[in-house]
Amino acid sequence: MTDLRWTEHQGVSLHYKLSGEGRSLVLIHELSGTSDSWDEVIAKLAPGYRILRADQRGTGLSEKVRTPFSIADMAADTAAIIRAAQLPPPYTIAGIASGAAIAVALAALLGGSVESLLLCSPALKANPERRGYLLGRAATAREEGMRAVVDLVFERSYPQSAITDQHVHDEYRARFLAIDPVCYEMANHMLADVDVSAEMAGLACPVLVLAGSKDLLRPVAHVEADIAPIPDRRLEVVKSGHIMILQAPEAVASALSGLYQASGEKA
């Protein structure tokens, strides 16, 4: 059973869900998503996890803020939520796309209490060539609403070739249209400035990185270059587009199970 809760951090109301019993697992969603983005992975995950997933500030059932935020704010929000949820260490943290950058910043904050990290289609370092695109789509969304950018965004993040389940795609599109455009703009500014290279270099835990073979936004070669600072890293390629947790949830769930086997402990 999933338990819905809220807490406050930095004067911002944050919503989170807890489900399952077992090892502590923190799931961090992408810029265009909510905690629901992890539904498919959770459905395919074997039992044995206490799963915490939150709506980042500005998304889902969390507060729709009107002040800018950074990856570091998101990491601090998540640390506050872990505390409020009384989730015990050690933690496995998984993040997708911009959520992967938050996962890295969070792991840097939490230090030795993180036992492993899974980064899916990670957006760890801003691509200067895409800055204009990100800020442009964000301004359009703010002025004209999410419907004005949905096709533009989906042709890269969720193209026809990446659809493995039409229903999942349609739900994701509907959720995308419900995003608060002002928060979406601020999240795009956050992504346009992202760089967690320093935090990556300091990671002490093993890190598994999944890159999508059909990812148009973070191609395998880019991911490989971006993760170079991580001391203990492994890269695997998954047949998927950018929104891997919805387009290849079995592969992500299987990678999570593999993390525990790799660390020599039973799930």
Binding site: G11, S70, A79, L109, G111, G112, A204
Partner: protein
Amino acid sequence: MTLTRHLVPRGADVTLEVLKEGEGPLVVMLPSLGRPATDFDPIAAEVAAAGYTVLRPQPRGIGASVSAEPWRDLHDCAADIATIIEAFGDGPAFVAGHAFGNRVTRMLATDRPDLISGISIIAANVGIAPSGPKMRAAIRASANPDLPAEERLEALRFAFFAPGNDPTGWLEDWYPEVLAAQRHAGDQTPRHEDYAGGSAPLLYLQPDTDPLAHVEDAEIFKRELGDRVTVVVIPNASHAALPEQPGFIARELLAFMARVHPAGRAA
């Protein structure tokens, strides 16, 4: 950001050195027992860059701060800081105090509420019970330059640094005579006199693994004083806190001050 040094006289017998950087509403930072203002270096730089004037007084006996007599009590410590805020003008100020500096901060906010817009107490030890003998010995050993480095590092790990955080930097910059004078001043003032810290908004930054300042005490403090108090737990940090999580602390200070002491206009 340019750092300048200023000398502020208090009567005929006391001169106080103040480090100043940035432009904007006043923020004052007060270090821990027997420690210099430079403990706040990275935090002061980040706060100043966000649009504040950051003032860091050196305690009497450190740098160019000198006095004919040691402090009488905690009220006397607080009066040094009041003198500085008045000398620079443009108050009220937001004051942040680390460990022992937290008591000076609360005493100042109690004695001179006219000078205060808000306060933050970091690794605050608001508990009434004195530290046990092993803890007091570890603090003395940490500060004692005559002991072997290994012994001091062990004491620093015990009293000041969370597992995995490097205590080497804190082998330096201890002032045992200042420590003794501050401890004497603190012991002259019953804890109930500074306990509530006046009536201004208060950000309580509580390290998650602090053996001196306990999470439970922060929670009791919040229950007793209500909505005035915001508690934020600093992940992966112990009593030293500042060198362990400087970025986190700076961001939490800025997020709180954005509400109670905003940059960019007179507070």
